[in-house]
Symmetry: C2
Subunit: 304 residues, 2 copies
């Protein structure tokens, strides 16, 4: 049986092998993805927010609820904020050990090996494999803060931004960007002081954005309070009522994904034959012998 067929049958070891191909950018990954076939069946949910907001605990609590419905849950844990270390932070992964041994849960950390574009592509592809193996929903949880997370959540059908009271100035500084990216805002650790103030602040911030204001939910992932409401809200987005916005999002996602993949392939081909010319041009620019603009013009010469 082919690896693709094994993955479609839900073979966990085959899935793990396929994910490694994708993560390493192995040439065999492209053929595997073509073999695995069309996807976009599973609800892909991005979970992001600053460290300490309780994302992992929330993911664990949501997973338990979906398992109660006998749904298989895939989790991709992504760390875009450490592009140099070559290994995703596994810190809170241990909490998910409550689900270890459960065949209906598959958890994988994706390291950020290369540029942001490369990681986005790997997440798309990894989510396709989890999808093909029958996991639905597929959660993409990010570790850290910054633009990377916001971009990566764009691969998701639905982006959940998790904040907690008292996380301080980082949250304040990030708020504008995160609120813009959110389909659902969650104030976790809602039993802590400052939760109501944070909800009020988010409500004000949400009113400023161009898109309709997202729902704001309060949860306490450690006790499970509010988590079922969140699960229901997420599931409802796949149903008829919200299906339209989900379809629009998937179309947008496919558009960005195809464009980026074509751009990468074209750049790869183009530079394969021009590495020397690029190196010479870079030397001339660094030495001040030519301007960047003139060098770019030369490097584009003869390109259709």
């Amino acid at each position: 049986m082919t690896l693709a067929a094994e993955i479609r049958q839900g073979d966990r070891r085959a899935l793990a092998r396929g994910l490694t191909l994708v993560e390493n950018g192995d040439p065999a990954a492209a053929a595997l993805l073509a073999d695995v076939g069309t996807a976009s069946r599973a609800h892909r949910i991005g979970i992001t927010g600053p460290p300490g907001a309780g994302k992992s605990t929330l993911v664990s609590a949501l997973t338990a609820l979906w398992r109660g419905d006998d749904r298989s849950v895939g989790v991709l844990a992504v760390d875009p904020s450490s592009p140099f270390t070559g290994g995703a932070l596994l810190g809170d992964r241990v909490r998910m050990l409550t689900h270890s041994g459960d065949e209906g849960v598959f958890i994988r950390s994706l390291a950020s090996r290369g540029a942001l574009g490369g990681l986005s592509a790997a997440i798309y592809d990894a989510a396709d494999l989890l999808d093909a193996a029958g996991f639905d929903p597929v959660l993409v949880e990010t570790v850290g803060v910054g633009q990377g997370e916001v971009e990566i959540c764009r691969v998701a059908d639905t982006t959940v931004v998790v904040l907690a009271p008292g996380a301080g100035d980082v949250v304040q500084g990030m708020k504008a960007g995160l609120v813009e990216a959110a389909d659902v805002l969650v104030v976790n650790q809602a039993d802590r002081e400052g939760a109501d103030a944070l909800v009020a602040a988010l409500r004000s911030a949400a009113e400023l954005r161009d898109a309709p204001a997202p729902p704001i939910l309060e949860t306490t992932a450690t006790t499970g309070a509010g988590v079922d409401e969140l699960r229901q809200l997420l599931d409802a987005r796949v149903g008829d009522a919200e299906g339209e916005s989900l379809r629009a999002r998937r179309l947008e996602r496919a558009h960005a994904r195809l464009r980026a993949a074509v751009d990468r392939a074209r750049a790869h081909r183009y530079w394969a034959a021009r590495e020397d010319a690029l190196a010479r041009a870079a030397e001339a620019v660094a030495a001040g012998d030519t301007t960047p603009a003139a060098a770019v013009r030369d490097l584009l010469e003869g390109d259709a």
Copy 2:
């Protein structure tokens, strides 16, 4: 007189107009940059680190010292963490008002209008204009935390990472990536409790990286303690002793810049004629009628 000539003569209003062209991605910006001529004269120093570390105060203190040497200082304040709001956070800019009215200081905030690649390109170009107008050094200060900052600091000749004791878990989480990116590590607010422990932690972390460990300096920007040592260390990097590593960095920077500019230009041309095909392919993928891999193959058809 052309805008380029006015900028080369140090005309501040012309410079501001040029920077607006660059920031808006105006088609006239490319011609302006070609007219302005070769650059890479000024020492471009990236200053990054988590919010609250005192970057702005440090930039202000360094600027005062360079002004004492009668050097003109350009400052680009960049906020990559709010890609959606279309306006850079101006929060601490007010501190720089001590330098307002000083013709030897030029401060500009750059908003992140589009993708990260677009902002990097705008920073390169904006630094070229400040350089052409006679500012040296040109400081690129980032606001916020995350991978964006690390990438943006790669446009710099020298990257200074500023940390402060007690900034908590964010600093801990980011440390690995930031330490890797640093040419110089600064522990600011060194008069605070925990400064020695932070220096020790950074020293351990720095030993783990592939490149030689960076120098670690302690400063208290509010009193000026240690700032002159930092200034001297930065200036020494341009001199003979460290000139070699700076040349290598500039070559690397020119390489990345040219490649990205050519890729952007080629993608722009390619999609101008294929927007409809891309839209149809995205619809087919979103509907599950084809795989992303097959759609990419079709979109690449006929490309040399």
